[in-house]
Symmetry: C2
Subunit: 310 residues, 2 copies
């Protein structure tokens, strides 16, 4: 029997513009690794956390890795123990699905260690449990794409209804992480509680267009549909240079941009690597001009999701 498994889970972009609270997609390479080992001592134990600057908890009822695995084990008969090591590749609180990637990697590793009693899709509810701990809300728009890869629609939660969507060939994402702190609670509190009927209808048209564009591989339709009239008008105010950046990247051939999760990270979708790199450069200049440093990541949209490394 395998005694130790390491899995990788990718960063994700949730709230994809008009897909506010229902859509997410996964990024290549950037992500977290988790190693899970079997022990004879019952119970879970966080034995190592690296790359978090000492900010993440070792308590098993507080760390997203152990919370997710415990939710899974509660569905099985399991009388041994597991030791968990987390290697953060993702910055915390950046809006790139950091806690979700940890949970997804932990679940895929633990599931493999037990001989894969669950399909990947069936791991989503366990990862949602860990999001409740990490973010205070049991949302799935990061954990589902981190596990499954590609674009994932969360149609409903009661019961959970998750739909994997196709990824058009050559779709690249540029992620911009400006060096500013944004409190998720603040980012939530700026949202309007009431939406006009007109805005709700516009949002419906755009999310419908985005889904159709993904299925048809119609990048122009995707570009026209990447408009969020619900969350973005409030949240963009928290990110200096947001609209100036949009003008610049669209002029350079990008399909569109939006806030990743609740920010401050901004995502840009582009038709191909070359434009994705070019808009990365342009973005640096835009943020530099307003005196803001920025990390830039460029990646194809990842259709694979979390996977076992060794």
């Amino acid at each position: 029997m395998v005694k130790s498994v390491t899995a990788f889970a990718p960063a994700t972009v949730a709230n994809v513009s008009c897909g506010f609270d229902i859509l997410g997609f996964a990024i290549d390479e950037l992500g977290d690794k988790v190693t899970v080992s079997l022990t004879d001592t019952p119970g879970l134990k966080m034995v190592r956390i690296e790359g978090d600057g000492g900010r993440l908890p070792y308590e098993v009822d507080k760390n997203t890795c152990s919370v997710a695995i415990q939710a899974m084990l509660d569905k099985l008969f399991f009388d041994k123990g597991m030791e968990i090591s987390l290697y953060k590749g993702l910055p915390l609180g950046s809006g790139m699905g950091s806690s979700a990637a940890s949970a997804a990697a932990a679940l895929v590793a633990a599931n493999a260690l037990l001989g894969n009693p669950f399909e990947k899709k069936d791991l989503i509810p366990f990862a949602i449990e860990s999001e409740r701990i990490a973010c205070g809300a049991a949302h799935a728009d990061n954990v589902a794409p981190s596990l499954l890869g590609g674009f994932v629609l969360i149609r409903d939660y009661t019961p959970l209804d998750v739909v994997k969507l196709p990824v058009p060939k050559g779709l690249f994402c540029t992620l911009l992480h400006p060096h500013l702190e944004l409190n998720t609670a603040d980012s939530r509190s700026v949202l309007r509680k009431q939406i006009s009927l007109k805005d709700a209808t516009i949002q419906s048209g755009n999310i419908a267009g985005l889904i159709a564009g993904l299925f048809q591989g119609d990048l122009a339709l995707i570009s026209r549909s990447l408009k969020d009239v619900i969350a973005e008008p409030s949240r963009a105010l928290l990110i200096p240079g947001f609209y100036e950046l949009r003008e610049a990247i669209k002029a350079a051939g990008a399909l569109g941009s939006g806030i990743s999760g609740s920010g401050p990270t901004v995502f840009i979708l582009s038709p191909g690597k070359e434009i994705a790199q070019k808009v990365g450069q342009i973005s640096k200049q835009v943020f530099e001009k307003i005196g803001l440093g920025v990390d830039v990541y460029i990646s194809e949209v990842n259709d694979k999701g979390a996977y076992v490394v060794e």
Copy 2:
């Protein structure tokens, strides 16, 4: 040169549940016919209207047929005239896209008469002009599916962005036209002007699921997605038996139901003709119990749209 062309355009269901104001689909058989003939006397003339019970206007600036054709002719050099005959197959004010079918048939006939200078899709703006006359609002969710057939998404109006969606095989529609009058203005006025953020998000998830279901041919997903939390809760109150009907048809295997346009017609989507017929019978019983007569039409979803008959 052909001197006379007759075209048929089908009935349509707009506001397809969660597709409020952005989605419509076309029905087979049930619809309007329009004959357009060339004359040497310049100008348009409505020469005959049948099947309307004398309710439709002969004035060329008020009839949807002539208004639509005039909008088309304004884009061309045309120094002759046309005589227009309208044969209504659709009841007026029923919520089945009656005015839209007249305009669509008129445009397809006139376009053919001129040697098809326009593609069908390019006729939509002219038909929208006629809807402005007929309904007081320049909406496209009836005219677009009546012209193009199938499910059609109206993503935006400025500029017009119309996306034809695939129709899953074997998808049938049962249309129920209860014998009650519903004023479109009333039906509009009951709508809430403000929507909660939560409801807007639920609606987004459902329209996204419906579009994905249409592309994947996933009837179960279509069924789960046919939920309207925005318009239906208000409008259903104007249609006695609406929710009782839904329970009954879902128990009989239908995918779901909703209000066609602004009502009072109700549409039911079913996987196959047999269930579509069965739920037609059940619907009659439900409406009879509350003392309401009902006309029942059963049809495959029409993927062809308006076409030249002779």
